[in-house]
Point group: C2
Chain length 335, copies 2
């Protein structure tokens, strides 16, 4: 391997005929440097192709200029096609690019992975940590927060953690969806709920129950885990238990997609016999048969907001403990 010696501050200093300190000042944009010298340093930097050694810098500044994005990697969902995690990644990456910081991606799926994440983050190898929707009550965010390490979660953390988070208005969105079904004359409205160890699953079910109960209708609930497979199974269960169902609200588009197909296989027409509404508004939603009516959540914006909050936190600025983004009902043909 070529050991192309990188130029150091020292080399630049020699070349520009100044001291290391001055070069450092110029590189870091200090204003207390005379313009001619500043210019000479600039030239030397360019000529030598000098790039600061981040390790050395971070050794003294105690900053790493990088933040970690931790994902649970629930085998089926994280990188399935629901685009939730890719969306968060992208939003975070955009904000970080603007701040010139690096994004370190960590999957905490395996037990070993979680241990690794813990070691790395508590070891202060990053300036802050972003947690993408967790399963259950993970104690790590709270622990990091108590260590004084900036943390922001996507989705209200379960448990009594006092960790800032960014989430969407699940209940409001679901409520709008269910009322849309009711307004359309549906009365036998079932739901395919998400996993009840995730905030998104819990809150979407809450939205369904509150709205249905308020309308004096019966609750019909089948549990899924956001995946298509679980959606298909839940749909079959609903059809078996409630043959007269005339609408289904699924807590994810993937489950709604499976419901569409399972209903068709069962001879039910959508939306004529059974109306279907999903949640997410993934790209596929516009291409299902029929196109899916769904609750849109601004996924990428979640990633951006999380990152913005984290950067503020890392800069020592105060932030609000929760940021709730709006959801929106997108009406297509399935309901």
């Amino acid at each position: 391997m070529t050991t192309a010696q990188r130029p150091t501050l020292e080399a630049v200093a020699r070349r520009a005929g100044v001291s290391r300190a001055t070069v450092s000042r110029v590189v870091n944009g200090s204003t207390t440097v005379a313009e001619p010298i500043r210019e000479a340093v600039r030239r030397a930097v360019a000529e030598l192709g000098y790039v600061p050694n981040l390790a050395a810098r971070s050794l003294v500044t105690q900053r790493t200029d990088s933040i970690a994005l931790v994902m649970p990697e629930a085998a089926t969902r994280v990188f399935s096609d629901d685009q939730v995690f890719p969306g968060i990644i992208r939003g975070a990456a955009q904000e970080l690019e603007a701040a010139d910081k690096q994004l370190v991606l960590m999957l905490a799926g395996s037990p070993g992975g979680h241990e690794r994440v813990e070691r790395y983050t508590t070891g202060r190898h990053v300036d802050g940590v972003l947690f993408a929707s967790l399963h259950g009550a993970d104690p790590l965010p709270g622990r990091l927060a108590r260590l004084g390490i900036p943390v922001v979660c996507s989705g209200r953390p379960l448990g009594d953690e006092d960790v800032p988070y960014v989430d969407v208005d699940h209940v409001g969105g679901v409520s709008r969806a269910v009322r849309h079904l009711i307004d359309g004359g549906r009365r036998r409205i079932a739901t395919i709920a998400g996993p009840q160890d995730m905030v998104a699953g819990i809150e979407r079910l809450t939205g369904y129950r509150e709205t249905v109960v308020a309308a004096g209708l019966a609750e019909m609930i089948a549990l899924g885990d956001f995946t298509r497979e679980s959606g298909a199974a839940a749909t079959r269960q609903i059809l078996a238990e409630h043959p007269d169902v005339d609408a289904i609200f699924a807590a994810s588009d993937l489950m709604a997609h499976a419901a569409l197909r399972t209903l068709r296989e069962a001879g039910r027409r959508v939306p004529d016999d059974v109306a279907v509404i999903g949640f997410d508004d993934i790209e596929t939603a516009a291409y299902t048969e029929p196109p899916l009516t769904t609750v849109r959540q601004p996924i990428q914006e979640i990633g951006r907001q999380m990152t913005r909050q984290l950067l503020r936190l890392a800069a020592g600025e105060p932030i609000e403990p929760a940021v709730i983004l709006p959801t929106e009902l997108v009406v297509r043909e399935s309901a």
Copy 2:
């Protein structure tokens, strides 16, 4: 912010009653330490919750224990639901976890982003760089390779770059798909090609042309960019120019998906009137109407292989210049 002073090697050494050097040796798994002392150090490390300072370590070792994964972020595709990039990310993350290295994700979409990637990678802030399918002939991989920085690309790099890469057998997969159509009695076989500035787009078109020509059939080509929108437009173009088309091979599942819908809108039945085959085997493929026959590529495996090659390279081991993974025709109902 709490300034919880982290314990240093020095602190551990005092606690264990040995020198810093010995602690360092134990931490780094040197075998030349007597068992009793080793044990004492272990205990001190545990009691103090010592975690090595990566910045300090990398300052002296010249390694960063992190590698960069660079994605082009072609706005539409990177984080759309084709799962290619998420799949690569996941595969890479798995391999890196085993090697206890970090994954730094960089999006090179914007001009500024590309400049940033260049600055960061040439600055040797990572031990190696993974490039996910590039557009056009990006000079960066070659430049990094010449600087002696380990680089691996997904997809043969365009241009005369001599950079190691991992790719799938595009031509073989497409050839099998087209022959499947021919075997099914199709004679008017069109293709919706991918972007011709990406290797995947180029090679899949090559596979189509070679096979169609070898069978003495006419070429019917419409250009897309892997997205659904482009697939719909291309399908309309094909129907307009070749009303007698009886099969379409699309270079991506997303385009195939759009073709399915566009054909239906045009009153063509699939597969009765027109057979359709895609490429990728994304999750949605099994749920389209009708379920999509497609060429499966082992996306996650690409990420894993790239990473393995890169780690070998970084370890100074020799690697083969190209790794080609097999593709497989998955027959469902659309052809």
